[in-house]
């Protein structure tokens, strides 16, 4: 009976563990059980991440200005006078909310990456929204960061069209577990986040070659915008990226961490941020579950003791 099988399957998946790391499982067993609260708080604070990276020599986009109060807004135009392009970020944002890319400046107006023009007042209102905590994950008052904008590295040119791709690494107990390339598309309007329409492509950890890919939670083989075959493409600077991802994971103090790296045209691999609660779609992009890999690292660590 089809209905009975279907119900049995739902019951089995709900109650019995499978190889897939689920939201509940991540939150219960790979949240506070493995990561210390102070390290999680540090990961949620982009300014601290940036400082840690600088002190450990991990390459990361430069921080132009930190706006902590409404008074700082008055001095903003002096600080940005010589900077034509920059990124405005909430310090404790989530899921890329409230991030604004300014790509060029025309007189007094700012050009956003999506072609929208902002006046100086628009920018100030956005920053004061950030300060009031509108984009912070807990709704508390926040700090606005003004950061160097990462420029498209020529090594990406065959893959990237609309924006800057980045690589998400999952590191557990100091070892790489899984990696995924996130590619912006026309549909995602330059954003590499998967839920906003970016492509996620699984990466073979040994070679840096792309394996499978998903777009909008469905498997794809070719890039939806220009039809390039994704499988077999290689991520440039793969060794350096892995190296810095592991260094960043070490520096983060988190046992289970998602590290985001990208390539800058001038500086090569740079660290964007690390995340104490990385998303689970990486399993879909790699067509493999995380849980058995994580359990194996657990076993190895227990046997080492």
């Amino acid at each position: 009976m089809a209905l009975r099988q279907w119900l049995a399957r739902i019951g089995r998946l709900t109650l019995l563990p499978s190889d897939v790391l689920t939201i509940n499982c991540r939150n219960v067993q790979f949240g506070l059980d493995v990561n210390s609260p102070s390290a999680i708080a540090r990961a949620d604070d982009k300014q601290q991440t940036c400082k840690l990276c600088v002190s450990h020599g991990i390459p990361t986009p430069r921080l132009f200005a930190v706006l902590e109060s409404y008074q700082d807004l008055d001095r903003l135009s002096d600080r940005l006078a010589r900077v034509p392009e920059f990124v405005v970020k909430p310090n404790r944002g989530r899921g890329g909310q409230g991030v604004v890319l300014i790509v060029a400046r025309h007189g007094t107006s700012f050009l956003r990456h999506n072609g929208e023009r902002w006046t100086k007042d628009d920018l100030l209102v956005h920053i004061s929204d950030i300060l009031s905590g509108q984009f912070s994950f807990d709704g508390q008052p926040d700090i606005a960061l003004i950061q160097q904008r990462v420029r498209l590295h020529p090594g990406w040119s065959s893959l990237a069209v609309e924006g800057i791709p980045d690589v998400r690494f999952i590191v557990y107990r100091g070892e790489l577990v899984m990696a995924m390339l996130r590619l912006p598309t026309k549909a995602s309007r330059g954003c590499a986040n998967l839920h906003q329409g970016g492509i996620g492509a699984g990466i073979d950890l040994a070679t840096g070659r792309l394996t499978h890919a998903i777009w909008q939670e469905r498997p794809i083989t070719r890039h939806p915008d220009h039809g390039i075959l994704l499988r077999g493409q290689t991520v440039p600077f793969w060794n350096e990226m892995r190296y810095w991802a592991l260094a960043a994971a070490q520096c983060s103090g988190l046992r289970y961490v998602g590290v985001d790296m990208t390539l800058d045209a001038a500086e090569g691999p740079v660290l964007l941020e690390w995340n104490a609660r990385p998303g689970l779609a990486i399993q879909l992009a790699n067509r493999a579950g995380l849980l058995s890999r994580l359990r194996e690292k657990d076993q190895r660590c227990l046997s080492r003791v």
């Binding site: 190889d19 219960v28 493995v34 950890l205 493999a288």
Partner: protein, 303 residues
């Protein structure tokens, strides 16, 4: 106290077991006709059925709130629906638990959609966050006051329980709805509104029955059972129903043949171990010939 995730889960399950046993013990102790010893006579005083009406209303609300919270936990952790606010569906469901208060529901929905429309009007004014919330709150309060003033003339009976659902929560729902709408699209925000309302309907349908209310008032010890359920859900690691659809081709039996076919045509992931040596800026590369089980469950070939 506990070192590994597993032992922590066991501890929580043990606690929940104790609560279940405690509930059973108290319930048995309160059974009439067993001839309970005098030292347990206090347990007969537990029933809240004999309270005067005003206190009874308060007791009713207090005793229904934990089971309502349990239902919200179930909906969020097991079903996987998201709701606006953690406990607003519980408060909403309880506010509309009596059939005679259902006519207040269109009022609530009207306020919500009206507030959402007002939020749209406020957007181009680019107000700061807190003043903007305050303006929204004032608008809602005005609308509700007008309604309250007009209700007797129109012969409406507005629910006293409407007070249980503070305007502040309504304002919060509208603001969250707006934010989610502007980030993920209006479809997503109305979907979450729908699941919030469905959860509230579920709560009012299950907990609004007089038999349930009387049973809980007579057996307040059942709250221990409710707490046991909440504890178990607090360490629940199973797949949410909404995730089953998402991960269907990682776990589905039907899809494995398709996945296996794709997996055979490409190299298996090689397990690469890259350990970062603390204190030195060098890394060690070691490659193990160790293949992961492919999605079909069989061990893939080692490349």
């Amino acid at each position: 106290m506990s070192e590994t995730p597993m032992s922590r889960t066991t501890l929580v399950h043990g606690l929940a077991g104790f609560l279940v046993l405690g509930t059973v013990a108290v319930t048995i102790a309160r059974c009439d006709g067993i001839g309970m010893p005098a030292c347990l006579a206090w347990s007969h005083g537990l029933s809240l059925l004999g309270l005067p009406p005003a206190e009874r209303r308060l007791a009713e609300f207090l005793i229904l709130l934990p089971p309502a919270a349990l239902i919200v936990c179930l909906v969020r952790q097991v079903v996987g629906w998201s709701t606006f606010g953690t406990f607003s569906p519980a408060l909403l469901g309880l506010a509309f638990r009596h059939p005679e208060t259902w006519q207040g529901f269109p009022v609530f929905l009207g306020l919500l959609l009206g507030g959402w429309a007002m939020r749209q009007v406020l957007q181009p004014l680019r107000l700061l966050h807190v003043p903007r919330l305050s303006v929204l709150l004032t608008m809602l309060a005005l609308a509700l006051l007008l309604l309250v003033a007009q209700a007797p003339k129109l012969g409406w009976h507005l629910s006293d329980d409407l007070i249980l659902f503070p305007l502040v929560i309504l304002t919060g729902i509208i603001e969250r709805m707006w934010l989610i709408g502007s980030e993920d699209g209006q479809r997503a925000s109305f979907q979450i509104l729908l699941t919030t309302l469905l959860t509230a309907v579920l709560i009012s349908g299950l907990l609004g029955r007089p038999a349930v209310v009387d049973f809980l008032l007579h057996h307040p010890e059942m709250l221990l059972l409710v707490m046991a359920g909440q504890l178990v859900l607090g360490r629940f690691t199973g797949m949410r129903w909404t995730e089953i659809a998402r991960f269907r081709w990682l776990v589905s039996d039907a899809a494995t043949s398709d996945v296996a076919m794709n997996a055979n045509s490409q190299t298996q992931d090689n397990l690469l171990l890259l350990r970062f040596e603390a204190g030195s800026s060098r890394y060690r590369l070691s490659q193990e010939t160790d293949a992961w089980p492919s999605a079909s469950g069989s061990l893939g070939s080692v490349v």
